[in-house]
């Protein structure tokens, strides 16, 4: 069996927007444009690996304040209670609301860590030109991209609470610095998943057939 034909292998670039196959002869520069729709042409996403790396590192750094700082300050009857994400989960578990505790834990603690780890694995595996389990890695990528949005649950909850609970003297809810950091983590990991080009997983597939 021979290696499958790709646009790259026949010296062509497929336009991302209109799908026109363009000869890659002139596309060494970054300013190549599609003759049909004027979109920028590139064979793979530009600097995909380094961009993903950068965003992953940023997400990793912001993950620390997101968990250390309180996401929510509740002031009721003059007493203020601040809660971090993990503190909130533990409090929920203690008060017997296990289901909600598990949902919050999965959406706010597990998913971000999983996303960062999965993308890290994908980037590293591409850089090391690993040849195994390409299909499973592709599934992992799709899954990562899919679950990303769900970790915004916490942020939505806090936004709704802040809007609703404005009873001044009786109770007030304000967002803490942790909430902003957490939102940034979620958004940056979504961008990281976007900048990663899954085609890179398959790029050296031809070598298998040659060798």
């Amino acid at each position: 069996m021979t290696a499958p034909v790709t646009a790259k292998s026949i010296g062509a670039i497929s336009c991302h927007v209109c799908g026109l196959l363009v000869s890659s002869g002139l596309t060494t520069t970054h300013n190549a444009r599609c003759p049909r729709c004027d979109a920028r042409l590139h064979s793979r996403k530009v600097n995909s690996l380094s961009r993903t790396w950068a965003l992953l590192i940023a997400a990793g750094i912001l993950y620390v304040p997101a968990n250390v700082y309180p996401v929510l300050t509740l002031i009721s009857f003059g007493r203020s209670t601040t809660n971090t994400i993990m503190g909130g989960v533990i409090e929920l578990a203690h008060s017997g609301q296990m289901v909600i505790a598990i949902i919050v834990f999965v959406a706010s603690v597990f998913v971000p860590i999983f996303k960062i780890a999965a993308l890290l694995f994908l980037v590293v595996s591409v850089q090391l030109r690993l040849k195994v389990q390409r299909r499973k890695r592709a599934v992992l990528y799709r899954f990562t991209e899919f679950i990303g949005r769900w970790s915004m649950i916490d942020i939505f909850m806090i936004s709704i609470l802040i809007g609703l609970v404005k009873l001044q003297a009786l109770a007030t809810v304000t967002a803490g610095p942790g909430a902003i950091a957490f939102a940034a983590v979620v958004i940056i990991t979504m961008f990281a998943a976007m900048t990663f080009d899954p085609r890179l997983i398959w790029d050296d597939e031809g070598d298998d057939y040659d060798g």
Binding site: V22, R33, S50, L55, P65, G78, A184
Partner: protein, 569 residues
């Protein structure tokens, strides 16, 4: 491989553009900067950790209880440890960096919780928010991290400006921490505390007077206890007074400066003053000069008290110092020596304004005057000052016509001779009674009584009475004759008439009975508390209200005729 291979692919256009200047690596750099800033802020906010020792941890919640200065939150209680010697608890508090400068050895800490006292209600806000710890930073001092908390809030904080004085008193009575200090009814300070003086004979009260009122405290100023009820039983009766309700319950200290001392210097901080028991004691204290005399009374001295006044013609010149009993066994005699203190300063000299004398001269002159008076017949006697209370005072008076009897057993004190408690008052009241009896018209009363008696006597013995009685007897006989005649002649006729009359009377009787029943029922209807009367009253009231409403409506319409069309606005 496919038919595509023969086709020529279109070439890409090349257009000048900008190479991407922004590197993606800016994103992690920004993230690092933000995270770094947050961590730096957290580390820099973390001030120092202090521990405060309190008796107990009442109302303290780790993580919630706050440390406040002027109601600004400057720290949070992080944990509570029980001391190893179990003599209290140690509150470990994270203090913010800004408040670090307050943590000196002059700082004081106390717990603010709701309290109701004579001074009012404090710490009410903590009912909702829970207790908190308050700090009074003090002024300067060395840095410190281990403190001991106060049991109660201090009376003054370091921001209160004023001067502290020491008041020395023999007995504390109702003075307490926070007892107000009053100047002309205005609270100008309070008592910070008290403790036994070093000599253990008096109590030092620490009084604080706020600015600018501390200018009023001069070296010649007097402080006195103005609290409680002042009951003074004097010759003029019983006087009862209190400054204010608060001072009545919580006590108060008042101060004032007598006119002659108004030019003295302003008292320095921690100047020592004497605290007088009451205003009277303060006033009496100006008579520093005292001459003691002894008096011997023959009779009972019951009613005479130590401190009772000594008067000369009704003017107080001194007081009783001591009363005791002496028995002379050899002579089988007893004596009651009463020591009195005469305060010569109470006596003014007529030529005081004209002649200039030194203090010593003046004193000698006054004492000489008293001696002269004794020689001229000054005698002491007990006088009833108040019949209600039976209080006795010593009254001095010039009684030159009675011989001076000296009974002194020792010559320790000069003696003033006594005369027995006089009966003048009793005799005078007896005389008054006699005068009143004198004025009664006894003679005239007696005369008219005699006249009446004589008239009666004449009437009875004159014989007219006998005649009258005989006449009456005759009259009775004739009446009987007439009656008998009537009986036999006119009676049958009268009987008929009477029958008719009886019938009529019976009819009237029936009418009366029915009238009576009617009245009873009407009475029942309108009796107090009957439902009919109640309804009637209600109806009348409703009617009155209705008529009022109609009247007011009419008034309104008269003033605003347009409202008939436009409605009432």
């Amino acid at each position: 491989m496919t038919d595509d291979s023969g086709q020529k692919l279109p070439e890409a256009k090349v257009r000048r553009g900008y190479a991407s200047l922004m590197s993606i690596w800016i994103v992690p750099a920004i993230a690092l900067a933000v995270a770094g800033y947050l961590i730096f802020q957290a580390l820099s906010d973390r001030g120092s950790e202090i521990s405060i020792i309190f008796d107990n941890a009442e109302g303290m919640v780790p993580g919630k209880t706050q440390l406040k200065y002027k109601d600004v939150n400057i720290g949070t209680l992080s944990r509570i440890d029980i001391l190893d010697n179990e003599e209290g608890v140690s509150m470990v508090i994270d203090v913010t960096r800004e408040a670090d400068k307050y943590l000196t050895d002059t700082a004081r800490f106390w717990v603010v919780s709701p309290a109701i006292g004579f001074q009012g209600i404090t710490g009410l806000q903590t009912l909702l928010s829970g207790s908190f710890i308050e700090i009074d930073p003090g002024k300067g001092g060395e840095r410190k991290t281990k403190f001991t908390g106060l049991r109660t809030a201090p009376v003054i904080t370091s921001t209160d400006k004023g001067t502290e004085y020491i008041l020395s008193t023999e007995k504390l009575s109702n003075i307490n921490r926070g007892t107000p200090i009053i100047y002309k009814g205005l609270q100008v300070g309070s008592v910070l505390g008290y403790r036994l003086a070093d000599d253990r004979k008096a109590i030092d009260v620490y009084a604080f007077v706020q600015e600018p009122y501390d200018d009023l405290v001069l070296e010649g100023t007097n402080f006195w206890n103005a609290g409680g009820i002042n009951v003074s039983v004097s010759t003029s009766g019983i006087e009862l007074g209190a400054n204010s309700l608060q001072s009545l319950v919580a006590g108060a200290i008042e101060f004032g400066t007598r006119h002659i001392y108004e030019s003295t210097f302003k008292a320095e901080s921690r100047h020592r003053f004497k605290l007088y028991d009451n205003e009277q004691a303060k006033d009496d204290a100006r008579f520093t000069e005292k001459v003691v005399y002894v008096l011997y009374f023959d009779g009972s001295v019951s009613g005479l008290t130590v401190g009772g006044s000594v008067e000369f013609k009704g003017i107080k010149v001194g007081s009783v110092r001591d009363i005791s009993l002496e028995i002379d066994e050899a002579n089988q005699k007893y004596y009651i020596p009463v020591l009195i203190e005469i305060e010569p300063q109470r006596i003014k000299l007529t030529d005081d304004g004209k002649k200039i004398r030194s203090v010593v001269e003046r004193r000698e002159l006054r004492q000489k005057i008293i001696k002269d008076l004794i020689q001229r017949g000054l005698k002491a006697k007990l006088k009833n000052a108040n019949f209600l209370t039976g209080q006795l005072i010593v009254d001095l008076d010039l009684v030159p016509d009675k011989p001076a009897v000296y009974v002194s057993t020792s010559d320790r004190y000069p003696e003033i001779p006594t005369v027995p408690a006089d009966l003048e008052e009793i005799t005078s009241s007896v005389a008054q009674l006699m005068a009143k009896l004198d004025k009664l018209p006894i003679e005239r009363l007696g005369k008219s009584v005699i006249g009446t008696m004589e008239g009666l006597d004449k009437f009875i013995n004159s014989g007219e009475l006998q005649t009258t009685i005989a006449e009456y007897r005759k009259l009775a006989v004739s009446i009987r004759v007439v009656a008998e005649n009537i009986d036999t002649k006119t009676l049958p006729n009268i009987g008929k008439t009477i029958d008719g009359v009886r019938e009529a009377i019976q009819k009237i009787d029936a009418t009366l009975v029915s009238a009576e029943t009617m009245f009873t029922s009407v009475n029942g209807l309108i009796a107090d508390g009957s439902p009919f009367k109640y309804d009637l009253m209600n109806m009348l009231q409703e009617l009155a209200a209705a008529s009022r409403a109609v009247r007011s409506l009419a008034d309104f319409l008269e003033r605003n005729p347009s409202s008939l069309i436009s409605g009432k606005r």
